[in-house]
């Protein structure tokens, strides 16, 4: 069947290396390979392990197309040197590994921090939080919070999580506040 076919396309030692370096099981890696090669044009499917998929193709995946953080996810996990956020198969596996069930909460919170850091400066400041809340409530003018509500909300968030009171949330503070959040582990999950 399809599973057997794709199993012969990933060399065995590469498969076991992926198993060692990610949190995915063998079946999950093979399923990821199948879905990834479907995003490629027919000619490139043979060498899917080394091909790069442009961002627009990745965003057609059902797991990502409804996600308001789709662009950030592609940006964070992409190792493309051209800055075009295209993803290779290994980037794809990295992404699935972080979002899998068995990933540690440390690594999940680290990548969540990277995804929420819209301006890539290493801290979550007010602008990042504002953009985050706007992503959550949806695109469109009527779905945004009023500026007074946004102020109040950001003030509350900073009060809860900013330990050193410098007006921004750095990685340690973020990981600390997320470790006490009961819903984080179950919501920060993508399974193919």
């Amino acid at each position: 069947g399809a599973m057997g076919g794709s199993a012969s396309l990933i060399p065995r030692d590469l498969l076991s290396e992926y198993q060692e370096l990610t949190f995915l099981s063998k079946q999950e890696i093979l399923l990821a390979y199948k879905r990834f090669s479907e995003l490629l044009p027919k000619e490139e499917r043979e060498s899917a392990c080394f091909a790069r998929v442009p961002k627009s193709n990745i965003l057609t995946l059902p797991e990502l197309r409804a996600n308001p953080f789709q662009h950030r996810i592609c940006h964070v996990f992409s190792t493309s040197e051209h800055g075009d956020d295209s993803m290779s198969f290994e980037d794809f596996l990295d992404m699935l590994s972080v979002f899998s069930d068995s990933a540690t909460s440390d690594i999940k919170s680290y990548y969540a921090f990277r995804i929420f850091d819209f301006d890539d400066d290493g801290t979550l400041d007010r602008k990042d939080l504002e953009q985050l809340v706007n992503c959550l409530t949806g695109q469109g003018e009527e779905s945004r919070l009023s500026s007074a509500e946004m102020e109040q909300l950001i003030h509350n968030i900073l009060e809860e999580s900013d330990i050193d009171k410098d007006g921004t949330i750095n990685l340690s503070e973020f990981q600390h506040v997320v470790s006490r959040s009961p819903d984080f582990a179950s919501s920060f999950k993508i399974v193919l």
């Binding site: 198993q19 060692e20 370096l21 990610t22 099981s25 063998k26 079946q27 059902p62 797991e63 409804a66 996600n67 308001p68 953080f69 996990f77 190792t79 040197e81 800055g83 290994e90 590994s97 972080v98 690594i107 990548y111 969540a112 990277r114 890539d120 985050l132 809340v133 992503c135 959550l136 409530t137 949806g138 779905s143 919070l145 509500e149 109040q152 909300l153 509350n156 968030i157 809860e160 999580s161 330990i163 050193d164 009171k165 410098d166 990685l171 340690s172 973020f174 506040v177 997320v178 006490r180 959040s181 009961p182 819903d183 984080f184 179950s186 919501s187 920060f188 999950k189 993508i190 399974v191």
Partner: protein, 678 residues
């Protein structure tokens, strides 16, 4: 400047060289490239963590793993062998885990539900799957320790025989038991009636307690003490359920010892963990956006109201508190009304059991009357509570929780009242009716089977209601909403999948199963089949008639809440079972405990057959001389831990204050340095 501070450097080193990316201004090719460079600088440090736990790209993880392996070349042979064996052990474990994911029931169904409706509803279906498994294991337990030896000995397999011990010191009157097991020609519908009410031919099967009227089973030369096995199997399934539920709830619960803030209500939880990354359906995503916006706005408004509430005048406070007391009195009155009606209906139904089998259908309805009244009370109670709580002026979050607690209480207390009324009938020693045997032997020669029958009827009726409601309420409602554009019906709208109602429904069924298994050992099998079918029924309702909830109830959407309520149900199930086993004399006409005063007595009897030393130890453990010092020591240990937690809390608060001061100092010094540099 901030990147060069010693604290940042040490954080970077601690994470194995993956911290603080330099800003894009410094022209690095992507943040992960910088991490790799930093990693190569720190190669001298032995990385303690396996490569996959590091937040690096695949290429960097390869480099890290190769460097780790290069480091191990220098280690001794013993350490090398240990490392390779632990690696292969982990690999084997992951293979087993991968295989067991195939065995997981309904994996694909739950996954698709999660994608379309979010994790809240998915947790309900995972919970249902857990209950199916739990009931199946309980059934296997009871079957293999109680029913199987009996069946083996009955058919003489393995050279087994049944041993009957003649009853001693028991009046003959108590041992008369003639179940009306369909002697002679009967109409066909009698079988149907018996199937629904547990009487007739069903009463003498292995479904009920009365079937197991033996004292021991001889399998070849081994004597199998069936009464002891029956009792110990009961304790075993209760303990198994208890431990399994606690294990599952500990996994999902984050204890918040330091701050008093409620972890579910915190804004950080709602914002950082607010989006369900597993949603795949654009419609569901749109609804989720709506619900998040609504939730954030209501929370912000509620905070403003809280400030207003704090500034209430004394007169207003008095008014609100007296209103609350008044409403609580109304709630209590409603509850006592429910309980009283259940009591009278049960007494009526039990009393009309003997008076003639004239009209079978009427008789069947009368037998099901307690179940009907309980289901009605379970349905009306929550409606009234959610209506009343609006007047009590609590915060929305507290409102939800209080309503839920009241509904839980109503459902579980109804079962308790039913059992209590049954016992009052059984021990009804009005006019010397139970002098010889300790219970009302004329009406209830085998009272355990009767209680088992009541539990059986409750379970069947619950199942029928769960099947009938979608058929007669949900699907017609969906048809009306889609085809009729009448304004009233459109305002009513499509069904929303009420998670808390559904969860309470199945917890109620599970409590019945726990209580009933002692009186009816094969009841868990019926419960397993029932929950199996309910899964598919609920799934069909969800996909075809429900729209995703616009306002999710966060407090009840979590797995932890389900398990806590299930635990309450289990602990409440201990009480009736404890009373039945230890207080009420077991029936002398049927069952494995004929020769004992109460069911519990089989345990002291068995202990008396042990060697004297063991006996003395066990009796010593149950005496006051041991229990009181034990209790005092436990109290002292508990107080110690409470004091320790308080001390830790104080230290954490002090450290937080210190952190704020340090950060201010840091900013001050940096400003001074930049000024001095200019």
């Amino acid at each position: 400047f901030l990147q060069e501070l010693p604290s940042c450097q040490s954080a970077r080193r601690r994470r194995g060289g993956t911290q603080e990316r330099r800003p894009a201004l410094l022209g690095t090719a992507g943040s992960r490239g910088a991490a790799a460079r930093a990693l190569q600088q720190e190669r001298a440090e032995p990385a303690a963590c396996p490569a996959r736990e590091q937040p690096l790209s695949m290429a960097e993880k390869r480099i890290l793993r190769d460097s780790q392996q290069a480091d191990t070349e220098h280690l001794s042979r013993w350490k090398k062998w240990r490392r390779t064996s632990s690696k292969s052990w982990k690999k084997a474990l992951s293979e087993v885990k991968g295989l067991s994911s195939y065995l997981m029931l309904w994996q694909h169904d739950i996954h698709s539900i999660e994608g379309k409706f979010g994790t809240g509803i998915q947790s309900y279906f995972s919970f249902l799957r857990f209950l199916v498994l739990l009931n199946f294991i309980i059934f296997i337990l009871m079957f293999s320790f109680v029913t199987l030896p009996f069946i083996i000995s009955k058919y003489g397999i393995f050279n087994s025989t049944i041993a009957y011990v003649s009853p001693k010191n028991i009046e003959d009157n108590c041992t008369i038991y003639e179940p009306s097991g369909n002697k002679g020609l009967v109409y066909f519908y009698t079988y149907l009636k018996d199937l629904f009410s547990g009487t007739g031919f069903l009463e003498v099967t292995s479904l009920f307690y009365g079937y197991y009227t033996i004292d021991a089973v001889w399998i070849s030369i081994v004597r199998y003490n069936l009464p002891l096995a029956y009792l110990l199997a009961t304790f075993a399934y209760l303990a198994l359920s208890f431990l399994w539920i606690i294990k599952r709830s500990v996994k999902g619960f984050m204890q918040n010892l330091v701050h008093d803030a409620d972890p579910f209500q915190s804004y950080c939880n709602k914002v950082f963990a607010g989006w369900d990354f597993c949603i795949t359906d654009p419609n569901a995503a749109w609804l989720k956006h709506r619900s998040l916006q609504y939730e954030l706005q209501t929370d912000l408004q509620e905070e403003k109201l809280k400030q207003k509430r704090a500034e209430r005048t004394m007169k207003e406070k008095l008014r609100i508190y007296s209103l609350r007391i008044f409403i609580n009195i109304i709630v209590l009155a409603i509850l006592s009304g429910c309980f009283y009606s259940i009591f009278t209906v049960t007494v009526f139904s039990q009393n009309s059991n003997d008076t003639g089998n004239a009209n079978s259908l009427v008789n069947l309805v009368v037998q099901y009357l307690p179940s009907m009244v309980i289901t009605l009370a379970n349905f009306i109670g929550p409606l009234i509570f959610s209506f009343l709580i609006r007047f009590e002026d609590y915060t929305p979050a507290f409102e939800i929780r209080l309503t839920l607690m009241r509904c839980v209480f109503v459902r579980l207390a109804n079962i308790g009242v039913l059992l209590f009324s049954l016992w009052s009938q059984i021990s009804n020693c009005g006019t010397d009716k139970c002098k010889p045997c300790g219970y009302n032997y004329k009406l209830y020669p085998c009272w355990e089977s009767d209680v088992g029958q009541e539990m059986y009827k409750l379970m069947i009726f619950d199942f029928l209601v769960i099947l009938a409601v979608p058929l007669f309420v949900d699907f017609p409602r969906k048809l009306l909403v889609t085809h009729c554009s009448c304004k009233l019906i459109q305002w009513f709208g499509q069904q929303e999948f009420g998670i808390s109602d559904n969860v309470l429904e199945i917890i109620y069924g599970q409590t019945i199963c726990w209580i009933g298994t002692f009186f009816s050992p094969l009841l868990p099998a019926i419960a397993t089949i029932k929950y199996f079918i309910i899964f598919y029924v609920k799934k069909i309702i969800l996909i075809h008639t429900c729209k995703p909830a616009a306002r999710p109830i966060r407090a009840s959407g979590s797995n932890f809440f389900f398990l806590v309520v299930l635990l309450i149900g289990l602990i409440l199930a201990f009480v009736p079972l404890g009373v039945s086993i230890a207080r009420i004399p077991s029936s002398k006409a049927c069952g494995p405990f004929r020769n004992f005063n109460t069911s519990w007595e089989v345990v002291p009897d068995t202990i008396l057959e042990f060697p004297t030393v063991v006996q003395q130890i066990l009796f010593g453990m149950a005496s006051e001389a041991f229990a009181v010092p034990f209790f005092m020591i436990i109290c002292i240990i508990m107080f110690y831990f409470i004091a320790l937690a308080r001390a830790h809390k104080r230290v954490v608060e002090q450290l937080r204050e210190q952190l704020v001061l340090e950060s201010r100092d840091k900013m001050f010094l940096i400003r001074k340095i930049t000024e001095a540099q200019r």
